[in-house]
Amino acid sequence: MTYLPKPKLHHPELPKNDLGYTRRDYEGSISTLCAGCGHDSISAAIIHACYELSLPPHRIAKLSGIGCSSKTPTYFLGASHGFNSVHGRMPSVLTGAAAANRDLIYLGVSGDGDSASIGLGQFAHAMRRGVNMTYIVENNGVYGLTKGQFSATADRGAKNKKGATNQDAPIDLISMAMLMGASFVGRSFSGDKPQLVPLLKAALAHKGPAFIDVISPCVTFNNHEGSTKSYDYVREHNEAVNFLDVIMSRQEITVDYAPGTVEVVRQHDGSLIKLRKKADEYDVHDKIAAMEYVQKHQAHGEIVTGLLYVDTDSQDMHDHLGTCSTPLNALEGETLVPGSAALAKLNASLR
C-alpha cells in the first residue's frame, strides 16, 4: 500500500474519454493491499477498461464478497456504488441487484476462496441463471486475508509457506463456468495488462454472464517456489489463446492488428471482438471443444489464457423472467398497486 494519498487535483492535460472523464475519474481510494499484490494490477486494468469504454462511472455497480480481492472495489470507480457483502455470497446479492435495475452495469469481484470454496454454489447458479454481469475472480490459490491457507483452486501438490502440501483436487473455474452456462468465459493474468484490459472491455460489453478468471499472485503468501499461482510459475506456463480488443459499435473503426490470424466476433450490443487464435482450430463458439482444450492443456500444466468461449446469442435473466424494460426499482405505486376496485372484485371471488 502507498501511505501518502495521491493529490486529488486533476492534471489539466490528462487525456479525456468520450464522456469527458479522465482516468482519474475511474480511480477509487488508496489501496491497502500489500505492495505488489496482483489484485492491485487488476484494479488498474478495470480502471483502464472502463475509461477506454467511456462508461459513466456512476452507472456501474461493483459488488464483492470478503477477502483481499473483495476489498478491491473500494480502490477503483470511486463514483460508483459499491457493496462489500458477505463471504462467498456476492453472486446472489448481485443477482438481486441486477433484477432490481436492468440498466446498470454489474461488476462482480471475488477471490478464489470467495468463489471456489464457500461460494461455489452461488457462483455456479448465477452463471446458470444468465445474470448480465462481468464476474471476475482474482485467483491466487490461497486465502490472502486469513493468511495463506489453500483455497479450492490451489493445485494438488502445491506447497504453502508453512510447507504443507495441498491434497485436494483443484477446481478449474473456467471449465466450471462453461459447464454452468456462462456465455462469455476468459482467463488472464494480473500482470498481463495488454491481454487483460481488452478482455475486460469485451466482458463489460457482453450481454449475459461474463466470467473472467484472473491469475493474481499473492505476494505475501503464495509467491514462492512450489506455488503454481506465483508470478514465475504463471509466466512460464501461460499459453495465450488469443488477443482481443473491443470496439464499441459507435466507433466502427477496427484497430490495426496483424491480419490473417484475426477472427471478428459480433457482441450483443453490436460491438466487435477480434480474436487472434493461437491454434488455428480454436473456435471461441464451441464450448465443448473449449473445455477440452482448456483441460488438455491443464493436464500438461499449461494455463490457457484469452477469451475462451463466447455465445453471442445468449439471453440474460431478464429475458428469461420477461420483465419490463423499465427498471423494476423505478416503477411507481400507480403501476404497481392494483387498487381498490380490483380488490373488491377479488374479494367477491373469495366468497
Binding site: H81, R89, S92, T95, A99, A100, C324, L336
Partner: protein, 611 residues
C-alpha cells in the same frame, strides 16, 4: 348415550388418504356451509408425504364465529382404514361415525356410545364408474352428497358451487352433480336424515371472504409494490410465493407486450434467496422472500448484514414445528426469539405478527413500507395454521389515496442542489439516515456499503468511537420503529380485573374464545393482542395495570414472554406462561384449562391443561 343434537355448532372431521383427490371435495363441503351463511373453519391435517399417508380435514361449524380449533369430533367421516382406531377414538361420546361399509369391519372395534352410519361408498362408486381415476374422484363427491343429506345442507348450494368450479366445462358439471346426487339420494333413501347435527341457514357470514393466509400475504406483497421475490421452496411457506406470482401475473403483466412488472426468482437455497432480496433492496427495489424455520437459520449471516448495513428486506416466516426439520407439516410459533435477535453480534429486528389472512394482507403490504422506512429487515411471522388453511376473514380493503412509503431516499435533484449526504448520518434524530440508490448522480451520493464498521459518511474505519456511535444510532432507530409498527389491540373485560392476557398471531382466535369461556365462569380477563415487535409502550402499561398476565403462545420456551421481559425490564414472576407446542393448533379449552389451573380454580382443569 343420547346422540348429540346441535345446530350450526359442531365439528366434522374427514379422514382421507394423501393424494386421493379429497382436498377439493372437502373444500366444497366447507364452502357449502359458508354459503348457507354459517361460519365454518376448516383445518387441513396432513403428513410430510406426497401420496399414501393419512390426512384429515376438520371443519368447525360455529354460528358464534369461533375460528380456533375446538378439540373432539362430533361427526367423523372415516375414509381411511389406516387410521380407523384413532379416528373412532377421537369421536366425542354421543357423536357420529360415517364410514364406508363396503367391506365388513373386524368385529368388536366399534364403540357403543356413538351413532354409526355405514354407506357402501366403494360399492356405489364402482357400480357407477369404471375408470380408476373416475372412481377415485367421484367417490369423494359421493360422500359429500351423503353429508349434505345427513347435515341438511341445501343441495342447490352444492350444485351452484360445482357449477362455479367447473365453469365452462358443462360435461364435468353434470357428472359431478350426478355423483353428488347419487350420494345424497342413497342417504335419503337408506338413512335417517338429517342426524342430530344440522346446518341451518343463517346470516353470520356477511361480506367475509374465505382465503388462506399465505395467499393473502402474496396479495399483500402485490399491493405493497414488491417487484422482486426470491425464494426457495419449503413447507409451509411455498404458497406465499405461489400466491404472489399468481396475483402478480393477474395484475402486473402488460396485456399488450406480456412484460412483467415483477420478478419471481427461485433461488438455489435460502442463503441465495435472502442475498437476492438484499441485493434488490440495496438497489432500490421492494423485495421479499418467504421461508420457514430452517430457511431463517440459514439466512442468519445475511440478516446481520442487512441490519448493520441497513438494507430494506422483508422475510416472511411461515412457522412450523421445530427444532431442526421437526414436524414440517405441523404448526408452532417457535421462531420468535431467533427472528427478533437474528445473527451474531448485537442485533434487534422488527417482527410483524398477523392474526389471520386479513392481517396477512395488510401487514404484507405494510412490511414493504416499513422496510423502506426503517431500512432494516422486517419479519412477517405467520404460521402453518394461518398460512395453509382457508379461513373466514374480513374482506381485504385498500385506500386508493395511499402511497408507497419509500422512506428517506435522496434524489439526484437534491444531490444536484447540494444537499449534504452522509449515508449513516442521523440528520433527523430518529436514527434513520438517508440513502441513495446506485446510479443516482454522476458525481455525488455514491457510497460503499459494507458489513464492516464505518463512519457516518460510510468510510471504512475500525475506530471504536465511530463504531459505538453507529451502534447507538441503531438502537435509536429501533426505538423509532415502535411508532411505525402496528399497535397492539386491547379488549378489556366487561368488569375491571387484575388479570390480563397477552397473545399474538394464530393463538388469537382460541384465546378470545377462552376469555368468553372463562368470563362465563366469572373469570374476567383483559386482553392485549400484540401485533409487532418492538413493543409499543402501551404493552408495558398494560402489564403494570395487571397483577398477573398470562402470556399465551405456541412454543415450548415462552419466546414472546422472553422478549417482553427482556425489552421491558419486566418482572418475570408477573408473567405466567400458557404454552402449547405439540404441533396441533392451540384450543380455547386448553388455554382456559391452563389458566384455571394456574389460578387454582379447578382440579379437573389441571388434567385438561396437561392434555
Amino acid at each position: 348415550m343420547k346422540p348429540i343434537e346441535a345446530i350450526n355448532d359442531f365439528v366434522v372431521k374427514v379422514a382421507n388418504v394423501n393424494g386421493s383427490g379429497s382436498a377439493s371435495a372437502n373444500q366444497m363441503f366447507a364452502k357449502s356451509i359458508l354459503r348457507m351463511g354459517v361460519p365454518a373453519t376448516p383445518r387441513n391435517i396432513f403428513p410430510s408425504n406426497i401420496q399414501g399417508l393419512p390426512t384429515w380435514y376438520e371443519i368447525r361449524v360455529s354460528e358464534a364465529g369461533y375460528r380456533g380449533a375446538r378439540g373432539g369430533v362430533d361427526l367423523m367421516v372415516q375414509m381411511n382404514p389406516q387410521t380407523w382406531n384413532q379416528d373412532v377414538a377421537s369421536i366425542v361420546p354421543g357423536g357420529y361415525l360415517f364410514y364406508d361399509n363396503t367391506r365388513a369391519l373386524p368385529p368388536g372395534r366399534l364403540r357403543d356410545d356413538i351413532t354409526v352410519i355405514g354407506v357402501p361408498l366403494t360399492q356405489i362408486t364402482n357400480a357407477t364408474y369404471t375408470l380408476a381415476r373416475e372412481r377415485q374422484l367421484f367417490k369423494n363427491i359421493i360422500y359429500v352428497g351423503v353429508l349434505s343429506a345427513l347435515l341438511d345442507i341445501e343441495p342447490a348450494v352444492v350444485e351452484q358451487l360445482l357449477a362455479e368450479q367447473f365453469k365452462g366445462k358443462d360435461k364435468l358439471i353434470a357428472a359431478n352433480v350426478q355423483a353428488f346426487q347419487l350420494g345424497r339420494h342413497y342417504a335419503l333413501d337408506h338413512l335417517q336424515c338429517p342426524i342430530g347435527l344440522r346446518v341451518r341457514r343463517s346470516d353470520k357470514v356477511g361480506d367475509a371472504i374465505f382465503v388462506e393466509g399465505n395467499a393473502a400475504v402474496g396479495l399483500g406483497m402485490v399491493y405493497g409494490g414488491a417487484t422482486v421475490c426470491a425464494w426457495y421452496p419449503i413447507t409451509p411457506s411455498t404458497s406465499v410465493v405461489e400466491g404472489f406470482t399468481k396475483w402478480a401475473s393477474r395484475y402486473r403483466v402488460d396485456a399488450q407486450t406480456g412484460e412483467k412488472t415483477f420478478a419471481t426468482i427461485q433461488a438455489e437455497d435460502e442463503l441465495a434467496s435472502i442475498g437476492m432480496v438484499i441485493g434488490a433492496g440495496w438497489n432500490g427495489a421492494r423485495a421479499f422472500t418467504a421461508t420457514s424455520g430452517p430457511g431463517i437459520s440459514l439466512m442468519q449471516e445475511f440478516i446481520g448484514l442487512a441490519y448493520f448495513a441497513e438494507i430494506p428486506a422483508v422475510l416472511v416466516d411461515v412457522q412450523r414445528a421445530g427444532p431442526s426439520t421437526g414436524m414440517p407439516t405441523k404448526t408452532q410459533q417457535c421462531d420468535v426469539l431467533l427472528c427478533a435477535y437474528a445473527s451474531h453480534g448485537d442485533t434487534k429486528h422488527v417482527l410483524l405478527l398477523p392474526r389471520d389472512a386479513n392481517e396477512c394482507f395488510e401487514f404484507g403490504a405494510a412490511s414493504l413500507d416499513l422496510a423502506d422506512r426503517l431500512q432494516t429487515p422486517i419479519f412477517l411471522l405467520t404460521d402453518l395454521d394461518i398460512g395453509m388453511n382457508e379461513r373466514l376473514v374480513a374482506p381485504f380493503a385498500w385506500d386508493d389515496s395511499r402511497k408507497l412509503d419509500r422512506g428517506k431516499v435522496m434524489t439526484a435533484e437534491e444531490l444536484e442542489a447540494g444537499r449534504d449526504f452522509g449515508r449513516y448520518t442521523d440528520v433527523d434524530g430518529d436514527g434513520i439516515p438517508y440513502r441513495t440508490y446506485p446510479g443516482t448522480h454522476p458525481t455525488r451520493g455514491s457510497f460503499f456499503t459494507r458489513g464492516t464498521s464505518r463512519d457516518r459518511r460510510a468510510i471504512y474505519t475500525e475506530d471504536g468511537a465511530a463504531y459505538q456511535d453507529n451502534m447507538e444510532r441503531l438502537l435509536r432507530k429501533f426505538e423509532t420503529a415502535k411508532s411505525y409498527v402496528p399497535a397492539p389491540v386491547q379488549k378489556n373485560a366487561a368488569t375491571s380485573t387484575k388479570l390480563g392476557a397477552i397473545y399474538y398471531g394464530s393463538t388469537s382466535d382460541s384465546m378470545e374464545e377462552a376469555a368468553d369461556l372463562l368470563a362465563a365462569e366469572g373469570v374476567e380477563i383483559d386482553l392485549l393482542r400484540v401485533r409487532a415487535f418492538p413493543f409499543n409502550n402501551t404493552v408495558d402499561a398494560f402489564i403494570e395495570q395487571h397483577e398477573q398476565v398470562f402470556v399465551v403462545e405456541q412454543n415450548r420456551d415462552a419466546q414472546l414472554r422472553t422478549l417482553l421481559i427482556n425489552e421491558g425490564d419486566l418482572n418475570p414472576r408477573q408473567l405466567v406462561r400458557i404454552l402449547h407446542y405439540d404441533g396441533t393448533p392451540i384450543t380455547a379449552r386448553q388455554i382456559a384449562g391452563q389458566i384455571r389451573a394456574s389460578l387454582g380454580l379447578d382440579k379437573a382443569a389441571q388434567k385438561e391443561a396437561a392434555e
